[in-house]
């Protein structure tokens, strides 16, 4: 881009328009976090179903391991080097949404162990997953995440209505597959395509 050449009014407006669009199109998601969380939640839900089915003494073993995985994943999210060369106003808002989501999630986990019980508690968990999917999906214009949000809200109601806990785990696994893993794979593929360009 040259510097001091004659600038017509139309050209000035075109530059402003083009640059603002360039900045807007810079919002993206590598999909890695969705995949990591999705796989961890999916395996935990399926393992819980299997533990119940085989009559294991410790049906929550998967969730205990998931607790440790959560700490590792959160540490990774916090300490991994951020390569972004630009910080948008949206980045700051989404960071606050992430913090709010984690706080709500820990309160739900606390309530499952304290008073609410797993049957309804996992429904509330799916409800807050859906909220995150909707906000992030809207921000990065991912239809897969928005569809995931709708599916997770429906799954949340199904989990609350259903009284047999092992089926809650199957519903949760399906919701996580549609809400986390599939959008994660799509975002990852899109991110790789954009990186090659």
């Amino acid at each position: 881009m040259s510097t001091e050449q004659h600038l017509s009014n139309e050209k000035s407006l075109a530059i402003i328009h083009q640059m603002i669009n360039q900045a807007k199109n810079n919002i993206s998601d590598s999909g890695l976090s969705w995949l990591l969380w999705g796989v961890a939640l999916f395996l935990t839900s399926v393992s819980t179903y299997i533990f119940i089915d085989i009559g294991s003494d410790n049906i929550f073993l998967g969730w205990n391991i998931f607790g440790i995985v959560t700490i590792l994943l959160l540490s990774y999210e916090i300490f991994r080097p951020k390569k972004k060369s630009v910080r948008t106003y949206l980045d700051d808002i989404l960071r606050l949404v992430d913090i709010g989501f984690i706080v709500c999630l820990f309160i739900i986990i606390f309530s499952i162990n304290y008073s609410v019980g797993p049957n309804n508690g996992f429904g509330f968990m799916l409800m807050i997953f859906a909220f995150l999917m909707l906000v992030k999906g809207g921000a990065i214009k991912s239809k897969a995440l928005i569809v995931g949000a709708v599916v997770n809200w429906a799954a949340a109601i199904a989990v609350i209505v259903n009284t047999e806990f092992r089926y809650d785990m199957l519903i949760m696994a399906a919701a996580v597959l549609i809400g986390y893993i599939i959008p994660g794979l799509l975002l990852r593929a899109q991110h790789k395509r954009n990186s090659i360009k």
Partner: protein, 99 residues
């Protein structure tokens, strides 16, 4: 009908591009601005300094993982100047609207 004078600091292709990029984000690295404007590092550096001297940009030089990093942010004065520039452009583009 009076035409507003266009701010000479902003009425330059590269400086206008830099300010237009920074108006939409909270802050950006030099590398981001270079990539989006397709400018050479030397030219971009000179123009950023002009914007900084005019008080339109805040430039932060720091180290990130032992690598030098230059971060640019638009200032309040820069935002006001950009808004005035766009208003002035409008008077040229749609003179009837200003009467």
């Amino acid at each position: 009908m009076e035409f507003k004078e266009l701010d000479p600091i902003l009425h330059s292709q590269l400086r206008l591009a830099v300010v237009s990029l920074l108006i939409s984000v909270r802050e950006a690295e030099f590398t981001f601005l270079k990539e989006k404007t397709n400018a050479t590092a030397g030219n971009l550096s000179v123009q950023i300094n002009k914007l900084k001297d005019a008080g339109y940009l805040e430039v932060i030089k720091q180290f990130n993982n032992n690598y030098p990093q230059t971060i640019c942010k638009i200032t309040k004065k820069g935002i006001d100047a950009f808004e005035e520039y766009v208003k002035a452009l409008q008077t040229y583009m749609n003179p009837n609207d200003q009467q």
